[in-house]
């Protein structure tokens, strides 16, 4: 190393000392001269030391601040998976698969009407390697019917590689995908060297031949057409120096290039170049390195690119903005073809390859084809959860990998449903609805995982995230909590509640007169119907009877952590909550009383795939199974005969659902929250300036919900029947025990011991002595026979 170093130093010394030596014969004494020379040498030495240290620390240490990569959930493929061919295509498009008639390499898929052949890329998960393999998938009307490998053997389960949905970038917003030289296609490096620095493997950092060649070319052309910088100099420029064209920078560039070449071999320098080079700009995000460049321009991994695509990337280096293939396709093509010509002239490619490549199109995909940065609202949720546990500098520089629960298929369908419904509503109601906004949260209620989040109708907009930050009054969405509290305090679904008009004096002296939406009051209604039809007055009476504190306690047990004020208006949903909080609350009901925190992150690993933290499935039973069963029944009544009955004009009757509509004062907010067995969705529609809407919860948000749920592989909601629950025939008018053969009866569940003891008029007819409970059960038995 010392030997290598000497010549560089010699050059420095001779350059600096010789002019001064000439002068010493004049008026500077010899000793002063030596002192000055010595000082200069020391300074130069120090500068060299400094530069050298800088180069080495950058090169050997962390060369780049590596943004954390955020991944969607990997799609699980198995026989019986509720996955259609259309769903699979959404996923594969997000992964940048090429759809071909025959697959020949990883990253390709071929489809027929009920069959797909996919050549997976494989992926290193934190819990093991999923190898690249060729798979045959057969579909039927239910979904994926059979999964086989290419030898025809059944495969139980395969995870596709997860879609990259975003990154967490450092302050300079540089994004890159690191590659190793051995993974870079040889034609890329050939092209790069051919066009930028053909003596790369011969020179020592600077190339006098290259400079001479450039000068000749420039003189010949009568202007600047070619630069003489070597790849090493370009790397130094990008790597360590600012982009200003100052003399100092130029002067530093040369010794630094020499030092770099002194310490590192050509391949190391080339690998650094491949990762450092700037290739374009996506909004605030700077695209660095060919690994990311391949994804950005072609939506494919670098290894899968063809000659004409590699030549385009190599050509871009000279001027990423000037040759931007999206903005200036002609310039880009000319440049690409020049690269190809040089490759051909240097004998790197055959005539046939050359002809084929220059005739190929640019093949650059539209921006946003891949799903990176496509889901800002979900990414926002992930970042907030991450920032509780990690420092910013770790997130944006350590190359962490964050595996999340986002389901790109569900997200895509949620976006379609929200956008289309908003557009239809705008068409129906005209200009005043132009600023209509919406947000949505979708979870799997059984696991608590967040599948999709929308924070703005312009789903790629990285601004105000309504799903997390917009606190809008929830209106009647609060009612299940009120009724659940009442059920916990001894009421039954058949309890008769009073919905007649009510005037209350509030603690501050004000008079409050809650109204029903229809402005009609009802004398006596069964509790289940008061919820199904969302009667306000009955709800306020019930809530005041059990006590506001108790209702707040229930809301807390359902998962609401926010401080809630004990005002009577809470009972009608004056409290503002975000769609995410509402999802948490409804999830506890959907999951049979087990409170499950909403989770967006599954695992975080370091850049090598070692797990740093996992976020396991957590749950706690906070609502008794019997009580939750009753409220689930009442919420199914909402969707079957209540305010959300229109659901079954869209969904098949075979799919049980439960939910609640929500409309706030003067129709400022349109809400719907509801679930099947495997999907829970909360939808909010409204205007940011809080002005009234021309529709209710069922006229707006419910339409989005229905459209979304229809697109999903729904499992019917079937509440497990607790031991203590029995179903009995009840007289719908009086709430008293009745029998199946009486008129106006309903079958309702009761916790054993809470069932009505009085029997209805129908049951007291002369001669009818049988026990109504037995008769109810007889009916059920008959029904099953």
């Amino acid at each position: 190393m010392a030997q290598k170093k000497t010549p560089a130093k010699k050059r420095t010394r001779s350059k600096k000392t010789s002019p001064r030596r000439k002068k010493q014969t004049g008026f500077i004494s010899r000793s002063s001269l030596f002192k000055i020379a010595f000082t200069l040498l020391v300074l130069l030495g120090l500068l060299t030391l400094f530069l050298d240290a800088q180069i080495r620390s950058q090169f050997e240490g962390k060369r780049w601040a590596l943004p954390a990569k955020v991944y969607a959930r990997p799609l699980e493929l198995y026989a019986g998976a509720p996955l259609s061919i259309a769903d699979l295509k959404i996923e594969l498009r997000g992964l940048g698969y090429q759809f071909t008639s025959k697959t020949t390499q990883p990253g390709q898929a071929a489809f027929s009407s009920s069959k797909a052949i996919i050549d997976t890329r494989g992926f290193h998960f934190s819990d093991g390697m999923e190898p690249a393999r060729k798979l045959i998938l057969d579909f039927d009307s239910q979904g994926l019917a059979q999964l086989r490998d290419y030898q025809g053997q059944d495969v139980p389960l395969v995870r596709l590689e997860p879609v990259l949905i975003g990154g967490i970038y450092p302050l300079n917003n540089e994004d890159r995908d690191l590659i190793q030289l051995k993974d870079a296609p040889s034609m890329l490096t050939e092209a790069l060297i051919a066009i930028e620095d053909r003596d790369f493997y011969q020179h020592h950092g600077i190339s006098p031949k290259g400079i001479a060649r450039a000068m000749y070319a420039n003189i010949k052309a009568g202007g600047f057409v070619q630069g003489g910088s070597t790849l090493t100099q370009q790397l130094i420029k990008n790597f360590y120096l600012t982009s200003d064209r100052s003399l100092v920078r130029k002067l530093l560039e040369i010794p630094m290039a020499l030092l770099l070449e002194l310490h590192y071999d050509k391949d190391e320098i080339l690998e650094a170049y491949l990762n450092e080079v700037y290739l374009g700009q996506d909004g605030s995000r700077a695209i660095h390195g060919f690994g990311l460049g391949a994804h950005y321009f072609f939506a494919q991994p670098l290894q899968e690119l063809k000659l004409h695509q590699l030549a385009l990337l190599a050509g871009l280096v000279k001027g990423p903005s000037y040759y931007d293939p999206r903005r200036h396709p002609e310039r880009a093509k000319t440049r690409r073809n020049l690269v190809l010509k040089v490759l051909f002239e240097q004998g790197k490619i055959t005539q046939q390859q050359y002809q084929h490549a220059i005739n190929a199109g640019l093949d650059v995909v539209k921006k946003g084809t891949l799903l990176k940065e496509a889901y800002p609202a979900f990414l926002d949720l992930v970042k907030r959860q991450l920032r509780r546990d990690y420092r910013d500098e770790d997130l944006n520089s350590e190359g962490l990998r964050v595996y999340t629960s986002l389901d790109p298929i569900a997200q895509s369908q949620a976006e379609t449903s929200l956008k289309q419904t908003i557009s239809t509503l705008q068409q129906s109601y005209g200009a005043k609805l132009k600023p209509l906004q919406g947000s949505m949260v979708v979870t799997d209620p059984q696991t608590g995982e967040v599948l999709a989040v929308i924070g703005d109708k312009n789903t790629r907009y990285k601004g105000f995230n309504r799903a997390l930050d917009s606190l809008r009054p929830i209106g009647s969405l609060v009612k299940p909590a009120v009724y659940l509290t009442a059920l916990e305090h001894g009421k039954t679904l058949a309890s008769i509640v009073d919905d007649s008009s009510l005037t209350m004096k509030l603690p501050n002296g004000q008079i409050w007169k809650p109204q029903n939406f229809s402005r009609h009051s009802h004398e006596h209604v069964m509790l289940i119907d008061a919820l199904a039809h969302s009667y306000n007055i009955a709800t306020v009476r019930l809530g005041m009877e059990v006590g506001l504190k108790e209702v707040i306690n229930t809301l807390n047990r359902l998962g609401i952590k926010r401080q809630l004020d004990a005002y009577p208006s809470l009972l009608l949903g004056a409290q503002g909550l975000s769609p995410l909080e509402v999802a948490t609350m409804y999830q506890t009901i959907a999951a049979n009383g087990f409170q499950t925190p909403v989770r967006a992150i599954r695992t975080v690993t370091d850049s090598q795939g070692k797990a740093l933290s996992s976020y396991p499935f957590q749950l706690r039973q906070t609502i008794d199974a019997d009580d939750v069963y009753l409220i689930q029944t009442a919420m199914q009544e909402v969707t079957h005969s209540g305010t959300a009955a229109s659901i079954y004009s869209t969904l098949p009757n075979s799919i049980n659902t439960a939910g609640k509509t929500g409309t706030t004062d003067d129709q400022r907010d349109s809400w719907f929250a509801g679930f099947s067995n495997n999907r829970l969705a909360v939808v909010w529609l409204g205007l940011d300036d809080n002005s009234p809407l021309p529709f209710t919860g069922s006229g707006g948000a419910l339409r989005v919900w229905k459209s979304f749920m229809k697109s999903q592989p729904l499992e019917s909601f079937e509440a497990p029947l607790p031991d203590d629950i029995k179903w009995l025939w009840i007289d719908a008018e009086t709430g008293l025990l009745s029998a199946e053969n009486c008129e106006g009866v309903r079958l309702l569940p009761f916790i054993s011991g809470s069932e009505p003891t009085e029997i209805s008029e129908c049951m007291t007819k002369p001669g009818d002595t049988s026990n109504p409970v037995t008769r109810s059960l007889d009916w059920i038995k008959d029904w099953f026979q």
Binding site: F594, N656, L777
Partner: protein
């Protein structure tokens, strides 16, 4: 003069050698992150509420829930080969002491079959082995809620809950669970 020159030369040489050889020792950058993988109880826990006390089963006839509002006979779920494969992998991992791997496989199985009580049984066992008794019990209770009508499974779940509570030092709770198990 020669002396000076040679001294200067030597100094320069030393400097350059120094420059070439001095290495800023590279400190591998270790993200100072907490490992949240163990024990899970360090997670931000949901609102701490005591689970409802286990009540004695009230003998009484009950009928299937699925008649109202949309009567439909509940079919027993067929376990898919994917879930069987994951449960097998998890069991092997658990027996060999790789509890994290067991947990990962079971959570994969849970996403595919979130209403399969067997998944919760194995997951509860795994959390018990991880000595996270609180979560183990909650997972087992979730399994109970999904096993209605299946006497054999219910008995196994309450036996498991008995063991979890004993290991957690909750003797009276274990006694209640034991009585419950004996009912099936």
């Amino acid at each position: 003069m020669t002396n000076y020159v040679s001294r200067l030369f030597v100094t320069g040489l030393i400097l350059s050698v120094l420059a070439a050889c001095t290495t800023t020792p590279y400190q591998p950058s270790q993200p100072p992150v907490d490992d949240r993988s163990s024990p899970p109880s360090q997670q931000p826990a949901p609102e701490t509420k005591a689970y409802p006390p286990v009540e004695e089963a009230i003998p009484g006839q009950s009928i299937p829930s699925d008649q109202v509002p949309a009567p439909q006979a509940q079919l027993p779920q067929k376990q898919s080969s994917a879930v069987i494969a994951l449960l097998d992998r998890a069991e092997q991992a658990r027996v060999s002491g790789d509890l994290r791997s067991a947990q990962n496989n079971l959570q994969r199985a849970q996403r595919i079959a979130p209403r399969d009580p067997k998944v919760y049984y194995s997951l509860a066992q795994t959390h018990m082995s991880l000595e996270d008794y609180d979560l183990a019990e909650q997972v087992a209770l979730k399994g109970v809620s999904l096993s209605s009508g299946n006497q054999v499974l219910l008995k196994r779940f309450w036996q498991l809950i008995t063991e979890i509570r004993l290991r957690a030092g909750d003797v009276s709770g274990a006694e209640v669970a034991k009585l419950r198990a004996q009912k099936y």
